[in-house]
Each structure stands twice: as C-alpha cells, then as structure tokens.
C-alpha cells in the first residue's frame, strides 16, 4: 500500500519538475561559474599545499618534518590537543545534557554565551589571558611570587586553545540530543537503571555520531589554532611553538628557499583538515542511512497492520 503511493508521488514529481527548471544553458552557465569558483578557492589552494611541500622531493620533506624544532612543535601540538579536547568534550556533554533535556529560564542566553568564543577574534581570545595572568595582569604578581608560569608557557596555550574551541562539541551535541528527546531515558529509568547507566547505555549511543564529529572538529581547531596561541606563547622555538607557529617562523625565515619547509609542516595540518572532512562526510552518510532505515522499518510496520 504505502509503496504504491510513494512511487506514484515520485512519478508525479519527476514529470512536473520540467515546469520548474531553468533552461539548459542557464543551468550549465550556473554550474560552470559555481565550479570555477569552487575550484579556484577550494581545490587549487589544497593541491598547492601538497605540491609545494613535496617540490624538493620526499627526502627533503621528511627531513623538514624531523628537524628538532619542527618535531618538538608537532609534539607540543599533540600535547595541547590531548589536554584541551577531552576537557571540552566533558563540558560539551554536560552542557548538552542540561540544555537539551531540561527546560529552564535563561536557556537562550546560555546558548549565546557558549557561542561567544566563535565571535571573538582569536587575538582577543589570547589577549584576555595575558591580561589575567601576564606580568602586568591581575594575577601576574601573585603567580610570579609563587613561581608559576602561565603566559609564555604551555598552561596559557592550553587555556587559549580551550577558549577558542569551547563551543564545538556542545554545538554539535545540543541539536542531536534535542532531536532524540528523552522518552528512551525515561524508559530506562523506569526499568530501574541508574542515572549513569542511562547515560552510558542509552544517551551516549544515540548521540555517538554527533559526538564523534564534534570531537574531530574540536581537535582540528585545537591543533590548528594560530592567533590566540601565538599571543600567549612567546613563540620560543623548541619550547612554546605549535605547528601553526612553526609554519609562520619557517615561512618568515625561508623566503629565499621558497618556504618548502613551511609547506612540509603545513601539509600535516592540511592532512588533518582532510581527515576531518572525511569523518564529517562519513558521519553524515551514516546518520542519513540510519534515518532511512528507521523510516523503512516504520513503513513496513505500518503496512503490516
């Protein structure tokens, strides 16, 4: 029953679309302009990174990456991401639970405040921590007396990274959790599950794809952050230099050699971006398939009644 109606609908759609389509030449002109723009602004810059990085051969490429200062930049980037991403994941889960599952006053304001770091310039994000913990900052003197270094050291860089990547996980999770509702959790609680059990076995599996993409995106931003980290880092080679800062230094110091070493480090970051896009596409495909499967199951169920 349901099947025939659907195929009828489909047939009607394809037949009548002709009345709502542009003439072929308009259509192909639009496609050509759109593709040209996409190629110029997306594909060419991407290919250029890898071309420039490998221009002097694989051996030079590997040497540029394993050179001590670059190597330590890679390590520091991984360390900072390993601290800041899990913290933002815990926050994202907590915030999404509170916002998606409960009603309270001031929810809209809370969501806007969580979005705030998106709107702030990275440089300002770094500056606020300098004003708090730098030598002339509010806690500067106290920190200095106690021999704690935050600015021009790793703790400040972690804080700036957390600030900049703050909204990503929460932003991905809130709509997913809102869409799934809370009936399943209520059922689990009625059946005697504890709050944590409900969270682990019911909520987490239902939001896992959104969570995965949020984590990957947060990680990509954490590893690639430039402005905020550059303001608090002091840019000491081998000590407080992350990969993006290393790219800048190599670029500034190697104008004569064409910046191949800068592109080598940059190519790792570009690979990370491609990986992020891959995960995103995969997650979207997965959720769309799950949705279609659920719809088909429901249609089957309806037709059996």
């Amino acid at each position: 029953m349901a099947g025939t109606i659907q195929s009828n609908l489909k047939a009607r759609r394809t037949a009548s679309r002709r009345g709502t389509e542009e003439p072929a030449f308009v259509k192909w002109t639009l496609i050509t302009i759109g593709l040209a723009f996409a190629l110029l602004f997306l594909l060419v810059p991407l290919v250029n990174v890898f071309y420039q990085a490998l221009e002097k051969g694989v051996r030079f490429y590997l040497a540029a990456l394993t050179e001590p200062d670059s190597w330590s930049a890679i390590r520091l980037t991984l360390i900072i991401a390993a601290i800041s991403v899990p913290l933002n994941v815990v926050f994202g889960l907590a915030a999404a639970w509170a916002i998606a599952k409960f009603e309270f006053r001031g929810k809209a304001i809370l969501i806007t405040l969580i979005d705030l770091p998106f709107a702030v310039s990275p440089v300002v994000s770094g500056l606020v921590f300098v004003l708090l913990f730098g030598m002339q900052g509010y806690f500067g003197q106290w920190l200095d007396d106690h021999n704690i270094k935050i600015i021009f050291a790793v703790p400040g860089m972690v804080m700036a990274t957390i600030f900049v990547t703050f909204p990503f996980v929460a932003r991905e999770l809130i709509p997913v959790m809102q869409a799934t509702g809370s009936e399943q959790e209520q059922a689990a609680l009625t059946l005697g599950a504890s709050g944590w059990q409900t969270f682990w076995h019911v909520t987490l599996p239902s939001v896992k794809w959104g969570l995965l993409y949020g984590v990957i995106l947060c990680n990509a931003r954490a590893m690639g952050e430039f402005g905020a980290v550059s303001v608090v880092s002091g840019k000491i080679a081998g000590q407080t230099q992350t990969m993006p800062l290393r790219v800048e230094e190599l670029y500034n110091s190697s104008k004569l050699s064409g910046g191949t070493a800068a592109f080598a480090v940059a190519s790792l970051l570009a690979l990370l971006a491609l990986f992020t896009l891959g995960v995103k596409t995969w997650v979207e495909w997965k959720t769309r398939r799950n949705y279609e499967l659920a719809q088909r199951a429901e249609a089957n169920f309806q037709s059996q009644i």
């Binding site: 679309r17 009345g19 709502t20 259509k27 639009l30 302009i33 759109g34 593709l35 723009f37 602004f41 997306l42 060419v44 810059p45 991407l46 250029n48 420039q52 926050f91 907590a94 599952k101 409960f102 009603e103 809209a108 809370l110 806007t112 705030l116 709107a119 702030v120 310039s121 990275p122 440089v123 300002v124 500056l127 606020v128 004003l131 708090l132 900052g137 509010y138 804080m159 957390i162 600030f163 703050f166 959790e185 609680l189 409900t198 990509a220 690639g224 952050e225 430039f226 402005g227 550059s230 990969m243 993006p244 800062l245 910046g259 592109f263 940059a266 970051l269 570009a270 971006a273 896009l277």
Partner: protein
C-alpha cells in the same frame, strides 16, 4: 505548550553546575577581565587610543575587506548552494564535501597557500600579476583570504533551507503561467533572502576576527594592509597593554553586536520558512 512537566531525568544540578563553572572560569571571567581593564582607562585615553589614525586605518581595512568578502560569499555561496541542491553534475559530492575545507583548515595554512598562489611566481599570480592584479601583500590579498575563510558559511546556511523548500509552490507558479524569472524573483528570492543575510552575517563575523591567514598574505604595512587584530598584537609586543586592551574592547563590542544580530536574523529567517 509551556506547561511545566515533572522531569524524572537526573543530573540537572550536576551538569548545569559544571557548565556554569566551566563557562565562567574559561570564558566569562577572562572576557570580564578585558572590560575591567578597559574601564580603568579614562574616557579621554580610551578615545585617544581607539581613534588614533593608525587604528582608524586598521578598522577601515578590517571592516571594509570583511564586508566585501562577505558580499562575494553571499553571491557565489548562494550560487554554489543552488547548484549543489538543484542540479546533478559530475563531482558534485566531492565539491559538496570540499565546501567545509576552509572551516577545517588551520588559518595559518590557508594564508601560506593563498600567498604562494597569488605571488608573482605562483600558479595564479603568474597569470594575474602581468594583468596588474596583485593578490599577495595587498588589500586585494586581504579580501581574497577573508573570502576563503568565510566561504562555508553562506553555502551551509542556505543548503538545508533550499532542500526543504516546497517545490509545489514553484510548480503552482509555473502552472499559473509565471516565467522562470518571475518565479525566481517573486517567490524564491524573497523566501531565501533572510537566510542569505544570515549566512552573510556569519561570514562577516568570521572575517572581522580573522588573523592567522591575514598575517601571511597582507604584508602588514601600516596604514595600508594592517588589520585591527594585527595592531593589537603590535601593541602587545610593545608592552602597550592599554593600547591593546582599548582596541580589543572595541572589537569585542562589535563582535557582541554581530552575535546578537545573527541570533535575531536566525529567528527572522526561521519565521520565513513557515
């Protein structure tokens, strides 16, 4: 609708408490520190620091270039969203996935690759520089880089709206004898306009704060290609904390204003979708 229901789910106190604590510690207190510092300045000093000619030139470039870049994105982003939703062509899914590339790519890498493309010996500069189009170390370079970083916003805001658009309305217009142009201008354009404006505002907001890519492409010449975030860094490097704070406070206030207007625009756009 707004009826209060008993909610049996646990953990509101814990998650809400943690959310507020984490938000305050890492975002609200640092942001408050900036304004506290700015308020320590007298009005006279604040005015002098935020309106000296160098700062004014930097704002002008930041906002002018951001506006132009967002405009380019509004036009080409709408076109790109349209062909991705409405047409079938070879490589469509690849381009669709690639739209998010500027969002995922670290800005430093974006600046590096754009600069090398548009420089005199680059793949694009080779053809453009002889024509007098200099896309590296100029104001044009700033606009190009800001267009790149803002590209995903218009496309991604518009795409879901275009997908959910009822084609029946267009069919009805066609049945009633409207030409395709007429349908476009009297039905599609008014429906899509609020969403395009939202995407434009998002791209603009992103461009105003952009720093990483601009450092590489602009050459950072005073009065000419120096953007406001770069001027903050310069002031900091000179240990001029007051100067840095004053300009940062101005940028932050403008960010707030943009954020609030985007929220307002989004509710306007969702109102139109019904």
């Amino acid at each position: 609708m707004a009826e209060k229901k008993f909610n049996p789910l646990p953990g509101f106190g814990l998650t809400m408490g943690y959310t507020l604590f984490y938000l305050s510690a890492l975002v609200l207190i640092p942001v408050a520190a900036l304004f506290l510092k700015a308020f320590q300045l007298s009005w006279h000093d604040f005015w002098r620091l935020t309106t000296d000619p160098r700062a004014l030139a930097a704002y002008k470039l930041t906002f002018g270039a951001s506006l132009l870049a967002a405009l380019v994105n509004a036009i080409f982003g709408t076109l790109l969203a349209w062909i991705l939703v409405r047409y079938e062509f070879w490589g469509k899914r690849f381009i669709d996935a690639l739209v998010d590339f500027p969002f995922a790519l670290p800005t430093a890498v974006a600046g590096l690759t754009l600069c090398s493309l548009f420089a005199g010996n680059g793949w694009l500069g080779r053809f453009l520089v002889p024509l007098g189009i200099n896309g590296a170390y100029t104001r044009l370079a700033v606009i190009i880089a800001l267009t790149f970083v803002g590209l995903p916003f218009v496309v991604r805001t518009l795409q879901p709206v275009l997908e959910n658009l009822e084609q029946e309305v267009e069919e009805a217009a066609a049945t009633l004898g409207a030409s395709r142009w007429r349908t476009f201008f009297s039905i599609l354009a008014p429906t899509l306009f609020p969403t395009v404006v939202t995407g434009f505002a998002l791209a603009f907001a992103r461009a105003v704060g952009e720093y990483g890519s601009i450092v590489f492409v602009s050459g950072n010449r005073i009065y000419e290609t120096e953007i406001a975030p770069y001027l903050i860094v310069i002031r900091l490097d000179q240990y001029d904390y007051h100067g840095a704070t004053a300009i940062a406070a101005v940028l932050m206030l403008i960010s707030f204003a943009i954020l609030i207007s985007i929220n307002w625009l989004e509710s306007w756009a969702s109102h139109f979708e019904r």
